[in-house]
């Protein structure tokens, strides 16, 4: 009751100074998504980079088409195509240095391949012979992550650890518009900002989470606006403009590398194919919308720009397509081979050393397989 006893003598002082820790103004995304292709900014873009992006986009599209074909042939259990989103996938991956890390979601096979991952290994998960078909350390690509947004805190932790160790490593984490609703998204971005971890969050807003359109997912001005609440800058970019995505991601990576902390980027794009080959998109969206986005195709957009500026002749186009076809043929051929599986692997990696119990179960399975080979029971 001390304060009340002071009555009469008490004069309230002004409250302890309140000031925002960060000025919100620079955190706010621009009202319009950033674009390069077809704008004046295009003139400043490096032609070599644009041509590289073009070749990668063509290869990426071909990969999507081939992988989808493989599902029809029963060679893949399922494939979530990123057709229409190749600019996000490829340009983001190319914005990283070799030593940086990529944290892809389950739809980001292309980004992983653009980082040098073997196209077949990248499909192991979806073929079903193992969960992750590659050593994540080899190309610094974390396992393709199925539970949505759960890979984001991993990216933050890895980036933070690298910084603690004094290594010059940036982590790029990819997530969908739907994934942005998960609690893990919130917690990851908050940790990243508090720790000023060198991490870049790239939301591919492709309009849908399976059948759920963005309007049922969020009421925010944009997903990039979520950045403000964490005290990191939000950036909005045309996700079908490979040059723009590359520039925005590169800027954010540089900022992170220089100790400037994390950035949230929303790339506005569209999923042209169904959610996966198993999905029927006609149940939840009309052709008009799809057609409007087809007219804003990332490959055509870049091809048009390059052609207009005389940076792409027929030979270059043919070369890009040929490379893509070679990749596709190789993919087809290798995916048509049955993977060689060892059921004993089921027990090999649960722990560093299998427990006694796992060894018993391994012996049981071995005996069963033996009996099966012998003609069985």
């Amino acid at each position: 009751m001390t304060v009340m006893e002071q009555r009469g003598g008490y004069r309230p002082s002004p409250p302890p100074a309140w000031q925002p820790r960060t000025d919100p103004a620079p955190l706010l995304p621009d009202a319009e998504p950033y674009r390069v292709l077809g704008t004046e900014a295009a003139a400043k873009a490096d032609p070599a980079l644009l041509r590289r992006l073009y070749a990668e986009l063509v290869r990426g599209r071909r990969y999507n088409v081939q992988a989808t074909a493989l599902t029809k042939q029963g060679r893949l259990a399922v494939y979530p195509s990123s057709t229409g989103q190749e600019a996000c996938q490829v340009a983001a991956a190319l914005a990283l240095e070799d030593r940086d890390w990529l944290f892809p979601s389950y739809r980001d096979t292309l980004a992983a391949v653009a980082r040098g991952l073997d196209p077949v290994q990248a499909l192991t998960l979806l073929r079903g012979d193992w969960h992750t078909g590659y050593d994540p350390h080899e190309h610094r690509v974390a396992p393709l992550c199925t539970p949505l947004a759960t890979q984001l805190p991993h990216a933050v932790g890895l980036a933070h650890a690298a910084r603690l160790k004094g290594d010059d490593v940036v982590a790029l984490a990819m997530v969908g518009d739907g994934g942005s609703s998960e609690g893990d998204f919130h917690e990851a971005l908050n940790f990243a900002a508090v720790w000023q971890a060198p991490v870049v969050f790239l939301v591919q807003n492709n309009g849908f989470a399976i059948s759920v359109p963005l309007a049922k997912q969020t009421a925010a001005p944009s997903l990039a606006h979520k950045a403000v609440g964490y005290g990191m800058p939000g950036r909005l970019v045309d996700g079908n403009d490979a040059a723009a995505v590359h520039e925005v991601v590169t800027d954010a990576v540089r900022r992170a590398r220089e100790g400037g902390g994390p950035t949230l980027i929303e790339a506005i794009t569209y999923r042209i194919d169904a959610h996966t080959n198993a999905d029927d998109a006609t149940r939840y969206r009309g052709d008009t919308e799809v057609e409007a986005w087809r007219a804003h195709d990332p490959i055509a957009l870049l091809e048009h720009e390059l052609t207009e500026r005389g940076l792409l002749d027929d030979d270059a186009v043919r070369a890009a397509r040929d490379t893509a076809e070679i990749m596709a043929a190789d993919l087809r051929e290798r995916m048509n081979q049955d993977p060689v599986l060892d059921p004993m692997d089921l027990f090999a990696h649960v722990y560093a050393e299998p427990t006694g119990q796992l060894r018993e179960q391994q012996a049981q399975l071995r005996a069963e397989l033996h009996a099966e080979q012998e003609g069985g029971r």
Partner: protein
């Protein structure tokens, strides 16, 4: 129970029909989850509900499982009967905090003033070639959480009847739907669709004298198949379908085991720390002197669910069940 076989249907269809009938009968029933509205769910179990009852009664939520279950708790607090769909078993994990700390405890916390009549539908189990995180059998977690009912149908009729009962229950029910039985077909009686044993009762699906297979959900058809195959070995196996893991029907299970003197518990879920330990332990506590052999368990291995190409090695099949039956110390009898 006599079943007038009027109409063949898949389990998925029976579930849809149960939801529809429940919604039609009770305006407080609300279906919610990821993609349950326009799309009708990835397994199409909620197909047509949004159209028939409107999006306020069958709602596509944002993609956030804790948010789905947490808001459903609030809706139930206000007197609605939410029926929540978790898209796949493993995607229910983000909602475990809400499940354990609130769903299971709200009635107890408030001395009964605030019951939560809430149904949580969880497609579970493997055998459908799903990639990582799409084939978990997570019933051990639910069983270890007092305050939840845990129910799982193995037949088309039970799918309908148990789901109606779950929705009508004033307690939260985790309703586990065996994914690989979604397309199993069966005849049922749409005139008396709820004419099944209530939640909490196990059912003898096949009477037998030699030994009892205690099982539930996706393993019921496997056990029935094993029982057929066992005839060649001279074994007449009884198959008990638990139908509800909580409450657990000791009476039916123990009656069977006392009769046969031998038992094998069969489930897909991992063995260690899985449902089978509880079942074997309680059967043994209650039937010790009737047992000719220890209660054995045939379960999934104690490993993360395998990739599609290896899942057949993991799933308890007929051979593994018969092997276990063979180890029930038959010599002890003679």
């Amino acid at each position: 129970m006599t079943t007038v076989a009027l109409k063949p249907a898949t389990m998925a269809q029976a579930l849809t029909r149960a939801l529809r009938d429940a919604m039609a009968a009770d305006p407080t029933v609300h279906v919610m989850g990821e993609d349950v509205g326009t799309l009708g769910g990835v397994f199409r179990v909620t197909d047509g509900l949004a159209k028939e009852f409107g999006e306020d009664r069958c709602t596509d939520t944002p993609l956030a499982e804790a948010g789905i279950l947490g808001t459903a708790v609030g809706m139930a607090m206000y007197g609605l009967r939410p029926v929540v769909e978790m898209q796949f078993d493993a995607f229910a994990y983000p909602a475990f905090e809400q499940l354990i700390s609130h769903v299971s405890r709200m009635r107890n916390r408030t001395r009964g003033a605030m019951p939560l009549p809430l149904t949580i539908r969880v497609p579970y189990g493997g055998g459908i070639g799903g990639v990582e995180h799409h084939s978990d059998s997570s019933e051990a977690y639910y069983m270890a959480t007092p305050g939840l009912h845990v129910v799982t149908p193995a037949t088309v009729a039970d799918a309908y009847g148990l789901l109606r009962a779950a929705i009508a229950s004033d307690d939260p029910v985790v309703f586990l739907e065996p994914k690989r039985l979604y397309w199993s077909k069966d005849s049922w009686n749409p005139e008396h669709p709820t004419d099944v044993e209530p939640i909490g009762r196990a059912v003898v699906r096949r009477p037998g004298r030699s030994a009892t297979l205690v099982t539930y959900g996706p393993s019921v058809p496997v056990c029935l198949e094993a029982a057929e195959a066992a005839r060649a070995e001279g074994w007449d196996l009884e198959v008990v379908d638990l139908r509800s893991l909580v409450p657990f029907d000791d009476e039916t299970v123990c009656a069977s085991v006392r009769r046969t003197g031998r038992a094998v518990v069969v489930h897909e879920s991992g063995g260690f720390g899985g449902p089978g330990g509880e079942i074997a332990a309680r059967v043994t506590e209650r039937c010790f002197h009737h047992l000719e052999a220890p209660v054995l368990r045939v379960a999934g291995f104690d490993i993360p669910y395998p990739p599609p190409m290896l899942e057949r090695h993991h799933l308890p099949g007929v051979d593994r069940i018969l092997d276990a039956v063979g180890r029930l110390q038959w010599e002890a009898e003679s």
